[in-house]
Symmetry: C2
Subunit: 158 residues, 2 copies
């Protein structure tokens, strides 16, 4: 995937945490996703389609998910209940929505966010897509964003 | 979600298993997804967007995933390796693609398939979407399809 596609997602994640959650994040080193990429307990997943197709995955530790949801909902959550799950889905939706607006040339549509829970679960992409993974840290713990996005070939003119 | 949206997905899953994998499936009872819905070790997830947005999830036991991939790849797989993961993604893509063609009035686009692995992982939908879950069984074991799809409100005319 084109490296420049990742920038709007990094920016929208940093903006959402800083402005909406009042929790600045520090970005780690971009890498292609591999077997060594850490796995997280909570994944917000949203599909993208348009002139490119793909997926954005917001990967959160349980602690970050609960604290982020608490900040969004302005109430103290302590476990991965349905309010927290909805808040993680909404956060994923906001990050994807803001990035989509920046990638206007791809005319992207976004699907509904799904939130995957489970210690040690793995989110795999098709093997012909190499997602880029960007780790972040914040005072609540570790998080990451993964984006795999491939251009759709233009249909041949008749 | 409208109950009639589920029919093309049930049909496309049954067709894919019967014609491509030579493994007829038996359909169980449709239900709304709930906390009692069984969880599976392998989930193929694909986002849908258009005049409705949502997700289709193909839920497979490890056994069904490995046997289905073996039939697709015409080789004997025994574990959830990258070939099996790709085959499950492709199967999800085929089921979603065939259903999309039947739901022409929704002008759906599909994103890339992601495959989630992990014993006991849960795939959650936004709480305002109630996905319909359809269990199936076949000689290889148990599987299910879950579809959550909600219409996008038409923009108001200026």
């Amino acid at each position: 995937m084109k490296a420049e596609y990742i920038n709007p997602f990094m920016t929208s994640l940093a903006n959402a945490f800083e402005t909406m959650l009042s929790c600045p994040v520090h970005r780690g080193r971009l890498a292609f996703k591999s077997d060594e990429t850490p796995v997280f307990e909570v994944s917000g997943v949203i599909g993208l389609s348009g002139k490119a197709v793909g997926t954005v995955v917001l990967c959160l530790s349980k602690e970050v998910a609960v604290k982020a949801a608490s900040a969004m909902l302005m109430m103290e959550a302590t476990e991965l209940n349905s309010d927290v799950i909805d808040a993680v889905g909404e956060l994923t939706n906001m990050v994807a929505g803001a990035a989509k607006a920046e990638l206007e040339e791809l005319s992207l549509s976004i699907s509904l966010p799904n939130v995957i829970l489970g210690a040690g679960h793995e989110v795999h992409f098709p093997s012909n897509v190499t997602p880029i993974c960007v780790p972040f840290s914040c005072e609540w713990g570790e998080l990451a964003i993964e984006v795999g996005l491939v251009p759709v070939p233009e249909p041949a003119l008749a």
